[in-house]
Symmetry: D2
Amino acid sequence: MYFASDNSGPVHPQVMAKLAEANQGYQMAYGADTMMNEVRDRIRSIFEAPGAAVYLVATGTAANSLALATLSNPWETIFCSPVAHIHEDECNAPEFFTGAKLTLVPGGDKMAPDALRGSILGEETRGVHGPQRGPVSITQVTERGSVYSLEELQALCGVAKEYGLPVHLDGARFSNALVALNCSPADMTWKAGVDAVSFGGTKNGLMGVEAVVFFDESKAWEFELRRKRGAHLFSKHRYLSAQMAAYLEDDLWLKLARQANANCARLADGLRAKGAEFLHEPQANMIFAAFSRAKHKQLHEAGAIYHLWGAELEGGDDDESLACRLVCDWSIGTAEIDQFLSLL
Amino acid sequence: MYFASDNSGPVHPQVMAKLAEANQGYQMAYGADTMMNEVRDRIRSIFEAPGAAVYLVATGTAANSLALATLSNPWETIFCSPVAHIHEDECNAPEFFTGAKLTLVPGGDKMAPDALRGSILGEETRGVHGPQRGPVSITQVTERGSVYSLEELQALCGVAKEYGLPVHLDGARFSNALVALNCSPADMTWKAGVDAVSFGGTKNGLMGVEAVVFFDESKAWEFELRRKRGAHLFSKHRYLSAQMAAYLEDDLWLKLARQANANCARLADGLRAKGAEFLHEPQANMIFAAFSRAKHKQLHEAGAIYHLWGAELEGGDDDESLACRLVCDWSIGTAEIDQFLSLL
Amino acid sequence: MYFASDNSGPVHPQVMAKLAEANQGYQMAYGADTMMNEVRDRIRSIFEAPGAAVYLVATGTAANSLALATLSNPWETIFCSPVAHIHEDECNAPEFFTGAKLTLVPGGDKMAPDALRGSILGEETRGVHGPQRGPVSITQVTERGSVYSLEELQALCGVAKEYGLPVHLDGARFSNALVALNCSPADMTWKAGVDAVSFGGTKNGLMGVEAVVFFDESKAWEFELRRKRGAHLFSKHRYLSAQMAAYLEDDLWLKLARQANANCARLADGLRAKGAEFLHEPQANMIFAAFSRAKHKQLHEAGAIYHLWGAELEGGDDDESLACRLVCDWSIGTAEIDQFLSLL
Amino acid sequence: MYFASDNSGPVHPQVMAKLAEANQGYQMAYGADTMMNEVRDRIRSIFEAPGAAVYLVATGTAANSLALATLSNPWETIFCSPVAHIHEDECNAPEFFTGAKLTLVPGGDKMAPDALRGSILGEETRGVHGPQRGPVSITQVTERGSVYSLEELQALCGVAKEYGLPVHLDGARFSNALVALNCSPADMTWKAGVDAVSFGGTKNGLMGVEAVVFFDESKAWEFELRRKRGAHLFSKHRYLSAQMAAYLEDDLWLKLARQANANCARLADGLRAKGAEFLHEPQANMIFAAFSRAKHKQLHEAGAIYHLWGAELEGGDDDESLACRLVCDWSIGTAEIDQFLSLL
């Protein structure tokens, strides 16, 4: 009963198999491996973007930080949600790589177009004194398990475009959002107005690979230099390529995302039936729910692993309602979910 | 006949097996996996350094840059060889992570103690005007395939210590040097005066893992923060741990390094017999040799893959002697070496 | 009728005289001038801090950025007001010099101790993932013309100290606050818990000099190196020293601040009498007041110069109330103030 | 007898007078003062560059660092002399502002075109691995008192242009070089191939002002943002403008440079007559000469102030020849020079 994070489960067997397949003979290093050519073509095809620049890195923070650095200048500010991963969970990596500031758009985890416009209007009205307006970074799935609809994405990108600002999509859970929306990758990115996307794999069955895709290929060389300077270019790059190749083959990425979201829906339905309250409506593979400390204790004793959310297990009244975060990846079995629910 | 680099060959099967073994069930992310505890203990034991701080990253550039950033301040200069990897091959990553300058100690690829002292004396004699003296970074095996003797290492560290400067060892080929010297890891590091080491695995059979070891554990927390801020902390860290665990198990690391060095010696002996000239005496797993363009062409046509060194295959006289770099990893077969030699 | 800013007026004649006095013969460069010794002693004496480290720079942004860089680490966050100069008006200079992030403490221009505690508690609860807690930066006079009482300063510093965080005081208008509180410089700084202060002069009659004072002298050498590396060490430093010497001589700094505050009070009283509304209670030398567009137009036509605050002169209804900022320095004459008031 | 540096003498009286003149009434801050418009026009006219972007900063290190940051990218290397001020005397400020590395072109203080070409060819031949080729920075007058001829400047710029690299001229002693060459500012800059110049004033009679001139005005806005972000934008900018205005008025800058060079020539002639040896042929306002310790001691006792060059006054044989640096600014009197010579 492991619901702590979607980075805690195993790598999918097909990915392991592809790594073994890639582990034959000699390959040019640093991204010049033959499998990378296939991966690049496949991602361009999936995104319906034949001219896209496609790169692989090993961590989501690297994907976000390097993409944003390529889209921004050090005297700019990057607009994002107050709970964005780039703000809360990357220990100043975005500031380190970009030199820029982050401006937190007021509101919840989802940015609203008007709030974004308000934040944009709040900057760069005083010449050189404040930071200049820079990229907008949108997280899809959000850090609270919500999914922007295509209309919402288009509206946010539309505001950015009004002011000539590039848009970055933090897609650490891109696949989970995509299957939730049942749309195409192009719909969720460049057709909506996104300029660059961190296309995540690590949280969806890979060992550690994220693609960075720029729909404007003029950013390609700068990104390559930034990746190397950031120490994120792998010599034995073929093992990144192999993971991504397995991910894309036969739509494994979509299959795993569907499994994760289905697991999450099963768990959410069960929680709802047991009377749990939801802090956010679960739309992908994460649940933020609240139920009594007594039940948390029971689950804890039975070996369930997950994070309480702004709360402590020990101390306090057993009746008190405590929030928690429950994350499902593809590998959670229905038996485990049902066991968890039965303990409630 | 692949002698282009020791990052071009496959991952050792035992490493793949350990990855499969690690790929079971759930594990805490970000370095809190159980295998990392074993790895840490094992490295401390191998280095006879029970209090050492031990971390894993995925690239050699990350290991070097983060280690140096932890040992230095942005107003300092780092002393290194003019051909050091940190100077020539990391696209300003050390400058990015440290903020410091690199001072190139005059001479060849091996730094000489007197030259190092001269460079140190050349800095920080004018108050705040020049950069202050910072760490000394030594590359072992050097970028030209030479190995510092223990006496040489001690002498260099001794000079650094005279001026209170910390010492970093870039050990991307640490294992190859160790078996060449036939000494202990402690001899080649802290007993000689080294404060932190990039203990490489990627060039010796791993997929992409380097350990950073600080003999002074007070650097631990700063390193952890720098690693995260540099986007080099892996969520699914267990797969880094697994590689390193396999590497250390039953001294695989030493076995592979011995194989690589033996391959290199066989190749060097053959080259010598064929009358090739050596730019540097090969002491580990790299050869810098020169022979006629005609022979290079012949090898090239037969499918041999390696880098010419400051020379072009096409154009010029067939008799002209052209330098090349030949690198052996553990996986090169003797058959291939002999085939290569037979073509000369 | 110039109320646009306290950086628009002339330099005080005694400062010009001291510059002329300093302009004799030869002086050692880079802060080794004899007058700097007097300045250092005098500031230590004024602050009752015999061991303080004292440095001069030429801009307020340099003073703040360099002081904060010396007090923080690049993986930390600096706590400040949402309207702090370091956040709104320095084009990412604090981020550039520190590498850190700024955390905006919710609330108005004055930070409240509970809000500060809340922000501190919101950080660094997740290991390396978020930025670590760094310095608290307090602006005195605030950017909205308010003055923290000694009790308020003590309370804020007290919260910082609970968490072991250093405190920086942005005292661009230090003197105006001091005479408003009628306390000692020690009271308003180290006795309240401040570790380093940007002690402003430029807005109070100087040409361009701010002192940075560290009450913990162990920061001295680092600051000197950071100042040089930031290109903020003046070769002909004697002209910075001279300005500060004149400023401190015979308490010119206090006299000018009293004049500025008195000018402001006269203006505020007049505005109040004319029925203007105040966005903030003016406590030092700045007024944020609102009155009708018609009156603004009248003043504008009569040649009054000041900034509207989030409003445009043109367009809209003449009866509409528009906010403005009115700043008084020492040099504003009462005649001008009365002329301004008579136009209302 | 003060020959320690050209930043030790007084400010010229006409500059002080212009500061007093500027010290009237109110002026817009941050470079919007009326005098700056005149200065900009005058510099454009002097350089025969009507579209040039012209900015003022207060230190030479700021001028160099900000100009280079505007001309380069953080993954590049800047080519300069091993004794360039940006390398030896700015405590990593260029690295801080640019993020780039410095590549030291082998040779003496003057770069030779072939050596520059060799250094350029040595970089960027390995894709992303090494830093990319960035700007060439030329120091005129060099740090050893030499002056590049126009032919030499053209040749260096020509090499840079072959590789598409921008050229920066560190003209801390621009005026001294100009009067030595007896050419026009345009000849010594854009006509030779220079893209941006640090046009120094501080060492030639000003209090602390350097202009940065970009002949390509498309760099203007980026420079403004970098200046602000570097904390180098002055609020009371009029006092920078006033210094530069006085400097340019009636060719004061040329007059002072001629005086300094004439002083230097008188001193050099005298030294030659006394049998001193010259390390470099003095061509502007600096002398590097050697004579016996005994004579140095005598001068020292008589109150002469200057720097020994890589030597110590105390200890050693009185007959030993010790090198020294002697710098003349405009303010040195012939009486002092003759007194100095008479002591030899």
